[in-house]
């Protein structure tokens, strides 16, 4: 079952079409990860799923209703979204920022309820930022700041959570921390999560459902174990690689071809493997 689906979705910035007639169903209660090379339209798709971008054609449906026709506040009670580079107001405190996640549940005459209080404390504990409550967001490290933003999105308490590259700017341990947090939310709370990730291996590790995009189209989707192959990596990223089982999880692990070496050029004939090896960003 899918509460959130895209039907023949076409997305464009001005007159440049980025996504072409995309059909996508986000499986309920699972972690879906969208991957693809830079400028493949993955973030654009996520923005459209969260009604930040109006479709140029087709529609995004929430429970069968067109997103564009629903009141934005009602959407905000079902879909939480964390953009790629959110900007906090100057000098805002952590607790203040997280509490703004309650916006869609509040009204002018109902600015704070016990439910708000519980949701905010819960979100802050879950993301381990409760100790930072009175600190200014400006003064935090990148990892802490990202956790605060995620806490804000969690405080919104939506069934669907869309995160646009939540691990960018984080070191590896914080990346793992964020992804584990996402999985915990999914497994313990049954939240449906959609992530855009750069790192194919992290995507394969954490996704229940992987969507590979290229040039605005879905190339393959399904459980990572079934779809991540050497052919797919070559097709989508133009990268020669070896796919082996991850020694810890058993999920597919993409190992890029050998890096460039000076001796490969002495023959005047560089090995095709090496010349194709572009490092993955992540």
């Amino acid at each position: 079952m899918s509460r959130l689906t895209a039907r023949e979705l076409t997305l464009a910035y001005e007159d440049r079409t980025v996504v072409h007639e995309l059909d996508l169903a986000i499986p309920d209660g699972k972690v879906t990860v969208i991957v693809g090379p830079n400028a493949c339209g993955k973030s654009t798709t996520l923005r459209a799923l969260g009604r930040l971008l109006k479709p140029a054609g087709g529609a995004v449906l929430l429970d069968g209703e067109e997103l564009a026709k629903l009141p934005t506040k009602r959407i905000a009670r079902s879909i939480g979204l964390l953009p790629q580079t959110p900007v906090a107001p100057e000098a805002i405190t952590v607790a203040d920022l997280v509490s703004r996640g309650r916006q869609p549940h509040q009204a002018w005459w109902k600015q704070w309820s016990e439910e708000d209080e519980r949701a905010v404390s819960d979100a802050m504990e879950r993301t381990d930022v409760a100790a930072l409550a009175d600190r200014s967001v400006d003064a935090l490290s990148g990892g802490q700041r990202q956790r605060v933003w995620i806490a804000m999105a969690l405080a919104q308490e939506t069934d669907l959570l869309l995160l646009d590259e939540p691990t960018t700017y984080l070191d590896i341990s914080h990346q793992v921390e964020v992804l584990d947090l996402v999985r915990r939310l999914n497994r313990l709370r049954g939240r449906t999560v959609v992530l855009v990730l750069h790192d194919l291996n992290q995507a394969a590790r954490y996704a229940d459902h992987l969507v590979a995009m290229k040039a605005g189209r879905v190339v393959a989707e399904g459980p990572p174990g079934e779809i991540v192959t050497e052919e797919l990596v070559r097709d989508v990223f133009g990268l020669t690689s070896v796919v082996v089982p991850d020694p810890v999880t058993g999920s597919p692990l993409v190992v890029p071809g050998a890096p460039w070496r000076p001796d490969t050029e002495e023959d005047g004939e560089p090995e095709p493997d090496a010349s194709l090896s572009k490092p993955l960003r992540g």
Binding site: L52, L82, K110, Q111, W112
Partner: protein, 353 residues
Amino acid sequence: MTTVNLRPAGYGIVRAGRASFLLHRRSALVAVGLLLLLAAASVAYLCVGERFVGPTEVVRILLGQPSPSTFVVEELREPRLVVALAVGAAFGIAGALIQTVARNPLASPDIIGISQGAGAVTVAAMTFGLTSYTVLPYLSIAGGVLAAALVYVFAWRGGLHATRFVLIGIGFAIALRSLTTLFMTKGDYLVAQQAQIWMTGSLNGRGWDESAPIRWTLLLMLPAVLWAARAQRTVSLDDDTATALGVRLGGVRLGLVAVGVVLASVATGVAGPVDFVALLAPQIARRMTRTAQIPLLCSALTGAAVVVLADLLGRRLLSPVELPVGVLTAAVGAPYLIWLIVRSRTASAGGKA
């Protein structure tokens, strides 16, 4: 009604029946402080003049007791004080709202063309022989609203872009100022002089009749201002985050700008474009309250305090010559703002725009 201290940190919750309101505690304290300052400044304003009336005497007159100075205080000084308070508060709120929407501390009605629009229409009317302060405000309001509408329409590109809004506003401000100058050179000498004084911002000769538009506007806009105080919170986040939180950004921004434009235009109509109040008051208020968004009530109180103090100085500094209030508002507000910025420089980390 009870007050409980919960999250978010720094806020208290005021409950009334089933309703609950967030109250920033520091802002509340600052507001009380500003009210006291304003009360003191107002009494001083009523005391000082060609003939000094003692503070106790002034308070007695205000409480309705008979006194030989009743006429001086109630008929000569009080109406002008009320204009000063109302104009200051209106500019303070207008500046706060426009700075919030533009996300730019330099944006204010006197920068983005609203005051210039009001000015151009008013000076044009003066050149054509219209000089009554009971009619001019309405023309000025029309001019300000029209200028703001044009800026808004030109800055619109599938949504309101904050930087575009400010830049186009500055463009309009320059064009409208030239238009005003044109009218002034066309008109005769006396009109030009009157227009010049009006354009500096002056409270001279403003009584109950002249202040009627601003008093009514403030009263009628009160519900809108209460709405704005809450709505401001949500537009201080970036566009994507605010939209994701269910904020109808387009509508909310238009509403905030509309409230700001109406207040700024009416205030300009009554007193002329009193420089810097709308620019300074919100920034001073925000630095005092240390809130993430510009505090609306404190901006209003700061604006009122700046105008009252500036006019008090203007009346007495070179007495018997009266200086227009606009000459002194910057002198009153700017040093304090600079001091606040210098003091906080060490505290704030990172160079955020």
